[in-house]
């Protein structure tokens, strides 16, 4: 949810009103972010992003080197090379394309390359499906990428710009995946406010041209962490059991610093534009006095909030938390917010087959240490683009309110909107 500040640095009337779909919003954001290299391969529902960006390239509106590769594996590989050479690199994909990137995702993260990837979330095959769920994003959960989920087209624009700021922060230096729901956001036109180009440039500090320094034995001085023939470094050559584990610790440590940077960037963006998304990490609504809280990722967050408002007007003590930052997962913060809640419904637009929905696993972990734990129900929903209408969400809340009354969870894993 966006909250309005009284006097943002750039007042709304100085911002540019656009009516664009989520994909176009991401493309404009990447354009304004002075991206040096885009390497991409088309796949629905992401295609519009790079299609639009290639228009900017063809029109000479950007300085970007556009690399039309032959697969997503190559797209991410080219981004790895570009980012290691010091470029600001961007790509976009979805579903099966993301799966094909999988190997290189890990490499991008472990080489600490601040690549930004837009994922127009789509269900994985088989059967082939072009529509939205979070199976693709959940599949890259453990790759070492920061994962942010957005709720609407405005947030897709805002977050794409923020992603570069977060990724390139010296405390972070990790790639960021910006997740926007396929079709529900990628192909949905909404009115958004864009910043003037120069304001985005200022926000990001211009082109990517400063790099963190590292110390190696063969140079007296610290050297920039990029491929530079004058100050050569090797990226990611062989580690055996002697050093691999230590290098993983670097990623573990960096992930710990991400939430504070996400919060800072959210706050800076708020001062600049008047828009913020909770604290950047979690977007709670109506949680303070709630007996029942529903957690959710992505565009369904708005629909859930809509129902929460409706039910609260009718006197029900319900609330919701939209999880904006999914990796690293805000365990502590969630536990703090959910303390004292009677029942938590966890919505997952995906499942770990043979287990629960991925966000449910994290939330269970988060709540384990509470003295009085809320009851938990996992709601899997919306697979393969199955719609999540307000009525369905209202029914889910009624079920959870009943559980709050009886204190009895009959089924811990529920499947919403599926035919038997």
């Amino acid at each position: 949810m966006t909250e309005a500040i009284k006097t943002p640095k750039i007042p709304p009337e100085k911002q540019i009103l656009m009516t664009v779909n989520g994909d176009e919003a991401v493309a404009y954001a990447a354009k304004q972010s002075l991206v040096d290299v885009v390497a991409a391969y088309p796949i629905t529902p992401q295609t519009i992003i790079v299609e639009k960006f290639s228009e900017f390239v063809a029109n000479g509106e950007v300085h970007t080197e556009f690399v039309p590769v032959e697969s997503e594996h190559s797209a991410m590989s080219a981004c790895v090379g570009a980012a290691a050479a010091g470029a600001r690199a961007f790509t976009a994909t979805a579903a099966n394309g993301l799966a094909l990137m999988w190997e290189i995702l890990y490499i991008a993260a472990s080489l600490r390359l601040p690549i930004v990837l837009a994922v127009a979330n789509r269900a994985l095959s088989a059967p082939i499906n072009i529509h939205n769920d979070h199976g693709d994003a959940y599949g890259m959960r453990d790759s070492g990428w920061i994962q942010i989920f957005v709720e609407n087209v405005q947030e897709a624009y805002d977050t794409t710009i923020q992603a570069f700021k977060i990724a390139e922060d010296e405390r972070v230096l990790l790639p960021v995946a910006v997740n926007l729901d396929g079709f529900f956001l990628s192909h949905t036109l909404e009115n958004i406010r864009m910043l003037p180009d120069e304001e985005v440039h200022k926000f990001l500090g211009g082109y990517r041209k400063t790099y963190p320094k590292v110390k190696v034995d063969y140079f007296d001085e610290e050297v920039p962490l990029i491929l530079n023939p004058a100050k050569p470094l090797s990226f990611g050559p062989l580690d055996l059991y002697d050093y691999y584990y230590e290098h993983k610790m670097h990623q573990i440590e960096a992930m710990k610093r991400v939430p504070e940077v996400v919060r800072e960037v959210n706050e800076k963006w708020y001062e600049l534009t008047g828009r913020k998304y909770g604290d950047g990490v979690l977007v709670p609504y109506g949680v303070e006095d709630a007996d029942v809280v529903v957690t959710v990722l992505g565009s369904t967050g708005g629909t859930v909030r809509h129902i929460v408002k409706k039910l609260r007007n009718r006197g029900y003590k319900v609330g919701t938390i939209r999880i904006r930052l999914f990796r690293p997962f805000p365990h502590k913060e969630l536990a703090e917010l959910l303390k004292g809640v009677k029942v938590v419904g966890v919505m997952d637009r995906g499942i770990s087959f043979g287990s629960y929905g991925p966000s449910f696993l994290d939330i269970s972990t988060a709540l384990y240490d509470l003295k009085e734990r809320p009851l938990l129900v996992n709601y899997v929903y919306g697979l393969g683009g199955r719609d999540a209408p307000p009525e369905m969400i209202e029914k889910m809340f009624m079920e959870l309110l009943e559980i709050a009354k009886t204190g009895e969870v009959k089924e811990k894993l529920r499947f919403l909107g599926v035919r038997e």
Binding site: M1, T19, N21, E190, G385, P389
Partner: protein, 187 residues
Amino acid sequence: MSMLEVRWHGRGGQGAWTASNILAMAAAIDGKHVQSFPAFGPERSGAPVLAFTRISEEPIEIHSMVYEPDIVVVLDPTLLKSVNVTQGLKKGGIIVVNYEGDIEKLYNSIGISKGEYKVYITPATKLALDILKRPITNTAMIGALLKASKLISWESLEEAIKKRFPGPLAEKNIELVKKAYELAREV
């Protein structure tokens, strides 16, 4: 009314989504919050398709399809035989159809009786053929829609059309919208 929902019925290639987008763009220029999206599917020329527009004074939080529209716009009268265009339409809602001919027949093919809904017609195909020389009825139907409901301003609509179409094509479409508006009538 806090939020207005429009459902567009057309065939692949007739521009239902474009019409929805232009309407949304115009409403956004008017200062409204908007959403416009197709009933997503693989594009198939000629197949029945749907598009949806939401227009609201408040920010739109819902991201799901439209199930109970306030207004239904039918770009192609041949759809009336195969598609139930009134499905979910709010009581007393508006139906705008590209149609010329016998009114009783029209009511029969929609499957409604007089007084159930407000029905508007305009000869969009004929006008589009006259002005655009092609049977693209989407902008004409926005004109007819405006007759039925003042949900956007003329100035914003013209601006939106100019944004969507290059130079002379924009002028033609504006002419078409105006003509379709003039000839639109409640039946």
